[in-house]
Amino acid sequence: MSEAPPADGGRRRFLKVATCALGGGIAGTVLVPATRYLLYPVDTTTVTTGDEPIDVMPEARIKKGAPPLRVGLVAPSERDAWGSVQNVPLGAAWVLRDDGGLKAWSAVCPHLGCSIGYDAGDKKFRCPCHDSSFSLAGERLGGPTERGMDPLPWDVKDGRLRITWVRYKVGGSTRETT
């Protein structure tokens, strides 16, 4: 205070510094663990579904030249943070057969992650969110997307088509998994 005797000045300055130091010490002791706690999911796989191929349908059902089929991919089990759940839908795939053989595309739009639909009139894939469009061969035709549709690995076992779910990073022209 202004009327404080000058001799008190040094003592008060010490008290001020000490008070700030105590406050900073307490805040730091809380903030360090708090930050680590909040950032725990950044380098943790919080959702795991296994990378086994998922049985989809008899391979023979996919006829050459027929319109693409949208199939849901359901994981037999999933670990999501604390929970373990069965029969979890992971996403969908578009499957078709053309001259090059069987194709399986992720239905996740590589632009911003909406679910891609099929435009039967124009015979092309179209994303309902931002109008990105793709050919049946998965190539980019138009719209804001920077790359074509993302392929999903598949195989055939005992006559049945099996697709492996892959999470791709959305956005960008190069394809990366997450």
């Binding site: 404080a4 008290l15 000490a18």
Partner: protein, 576 residues
Amino acid sequence: MSVRDWLDERTGYRAVVKHALEEPVLGGASLAYVFGSVLLFVLILQMTTGILLAFYYAPSATDAWASVANIEDRVTMGWLVRGLHHHGASAMVIVAGLHLVQTAVWGAYKRPREMNWIIGVLLLGLIMAFALTGYLLPWDQTGYWATKVATGIAGSSPMIGDQLKAAVQGGNEYGNLTLTRFFALHVFVLPALTLGLVAIHLALFRKHGVTPHWWKSEDALARDVQPFWPDQLFRDFVAMAVAFGGILAWTVHEHGARLDAPADPSSGFDARPEWYFRPLFQALKYFGGSMERIVALGAPVVVGGFLLALPFADKSRERAPQRRPIVMSLLAVGGLCVAALTFLSYREDAGDASLAERQVAAETRAQKARVLAELYGVPAAGGTSVFETATFYRARVIWAKSCAKCHEGDKREGPAIGAGYNTRAWIRGFLTGPSSELYFGRSKLADKEGAMKPVDYTGADLDALVEMVYAETGAPDIDAKKVARGHEIFEDDCSNCHEREVGKESVSAPNLYGRGSRWWLAQFIATPGGATFFGDRNAMPKIGADLSPADRDELARYITWLRVATPANVHALGDP
């Protein structure tokens, strides 16, 4: 113009800070005045850790326990954050108590500070409400059962008991709506009320200033004045650091907060409230019937009412405690009663050996649940279903309930079944002594007329016979030559009583086809007296017939596993 000048011109923040810090403290700064600040600090700590917990907590009956276990065992520093929140709640109660005692002794409830005293008492009630609602949120055994008692007390209120209980617990029974209610109260309603009352509490404190030392004259108070910043605030921060250090040290010492096994309404559990509700918990033991309700509902009303009425009952201007003997004695007696009841409650528990045993069992179960949750996650059914992720959980439950009595331990009446069942060694022992202690020795089949006789073979022939019986279990490590030799011996010597063609009814003893395999065991459990099994010589109770086919199969799967298990493997499964 500096950034600060620019900011001050637009906001006037300097005047606000100056006003906040430059409060004159009459009679000088004092350690006696730190409790309010420490309480505010712990409140901020509770809000910080509470918000952090909300990042990972799910208020649903199926997810709550699992999400808290996830915080404890998987999230980085999660145990510390939850521990600080849990023990911070205890610190709130302790510091609030000290604050109350200090202000009461200094006579802070007297004119002109009556309203601030009343708001302080209301805040104390809110702290207790925080404790009560927060205790349930982990949905573990302790929280579940202790809160059941609390809502039960609410349900015994006169006239509106049933409605009150249904309103508090969100329906006719504990479930999702109970948790969403307690969660909404704990994280939205109570904090909003608390912040509002704290704001008024602080504003009134600034209006009237600190309640000064009663032993100083007006002149001395005016002469010894010191500024709040830094003189008082330094003392406040020292006290905060001590409080924080205490909470942190205790949290580390206790390895965070307890998390019991998931709430299980079908279990028995020794519900104990947190330590600050122990006096009420203990008091209830001394009253029965309608008196119990009166005490449970009345005690908080009487204590709260006394504190609220204090400013109006003691209206003299005298603040020196030695000249207020009645109020000081009442406070002291009240404090002693609380301390005595708390002490008695803990002493009774400490003297109860069977309680200690049950608590150890509960702790073991809690640890098991935590380990399983971390390894396998909690199934969507939630809470207690975590135990079902344990290997052979279902089979072990059935085994303990229906099989162990006759097939394990001293009072056994049938053959011993455990690790090593149906191994070559077990089969050899059986063939050479079917009526010996570990086999039919204790059953009705032992040494009677028509009971199985020990085989006469030794050496390679006995090995062959053992291998033949062993092969029927479906074990993969079979010596085909020995089995073939075993079949020859079987035809010579065993086929008088036994069959080994699928489905063929035996003459007087079980058909050995597939004996000890999973499908054989599942069928045997269902009908031990069936024509291909023991027929009318069967002595095993028909318990298995009541089991579902899935349960019988699971049990059979477990029993076939015993063949490759060691006693340590079985022990590691633990008790279901």
